[in-house]
Symmetry: C2
Subunit: 193 residues, 2 copies
């Protein structure tokens, strides 16, 4: 159960046995059923969540009721409402399960103390955030300058494993287009091949 996350951590930092013990002690395993909420917008985000098996998604529901997916998290990914987790403000995103999912969670207090107790985690988290920074910037640029068809092709090239596990209309939401339009794009691609 905890081996994947230890491997994950080991890619960034080396822990001694004591540190491993402390780290493992703050992880709480939990399961979510498909469609079950991990976090509802407006609530305080109480956990940083690591996905062991399954798939979660974070999404924003705008005033018109349309929902916009900001992140998928499959195996070996982390997900949370960072703003709420840092500051205790009400979260703006919902997080729920795309399929039945097993996670390991770190409580908000433990998370905020973690960096003082085990300073090495500063390094790991900083490096994770730097990678996220880069991919966020790329996503912003791509959304600005690439047409819908190209964004779709990029997505399936990069996340082939996600594409097959998530309903098509959710991919459309992630890519910033309507499900009808994505359907149209796929038809044209199928016709010409």
């Amino acid at each position: 159960m905890s081996q994947p996350i230890l491997d994950y951590v080991a890619r960034y930092i080396q822990l001694d046995e004591d540190e491993k013990k402390i780290f493992l002690s703050i992880l709480r395993p939990r399961k979510y059923l498909k469609r079950q909420f991990v976090l509802q917008a407006g609530d305080e985000c109480r956990y940083e969540t690591y996905v062991v098996k399954g798939c979660l998604k974070a999404y924003f529901v705008d005033p018109d009721g349309n929902s916009h997916i900001v992140q998928f998290a499959v195996e070996d990914w982390w997900i949370s409402d960072m703003d709420s987790l840092m500051n205790g403000t009400p979260s703006t995103f919902n997080i729920d399960a795309v399929e039945d999912t097993e996670v390991l969670q770190i409580d908000r207090n433990d998370f905020n103390n973690l960096f003082a107790r085990l300073p090495k985690f500063n390094t790991m988290y900083r490096m994770m955030l730097m990678k996220a920074f880069v991919s966020h910037q790329r996503r912003i640029v791509d959304n600005l300058c690439k047409p819908a068809k190209e964004r779709y092709l990029d997505f399936i090239a990069r996340y082939r494993n996600i594409e097959q596990r998530v309903p098509q209309h959710q991919i459309a939401s992630y890519l910033g287009m309507t499900p009808e339009f994505l359907s149209q794009i796929r038809r044209k691609l199928a016709d010409q091949s």
Copy 2:
């Protein structure tokens, strides 16, 4: 010259005199003239750059030759091509000066060593990145679900100081619309008030 950056750092971490000395020793002051390049796409990003006075911008030029501004950096902001800075890969962004600008720069090697030499900086940088993470996510969502007019109004509300220093077509680029369309939006706003 260095006081602003010390104040900046002090908002996140407390340095003793030795640490201050080390930190200051890796900062290189430099001036850029309006329109001068700080970094050209394809080159290796050699510096993390802190703006003391003036304004820089980072932008991506797409295959059609259109440029898309990903970030402005005015006083007290940092700017770089993070991917290139981390990994030494060719940068995808250009960075240049919107106006005459004074900066403090940290060389790529010093930057990568900084966290080992002065571990406190892990904490500071992690916290900076967490804030950036949140604002990137918000920008992604806003670009997906807000119409152009609203994005413009949000921008001038949040960055009134930037709006007055940067040519209008660059703001349009940052907001992901054409300069013609932004001009139209502004006319309508002016008419009805």
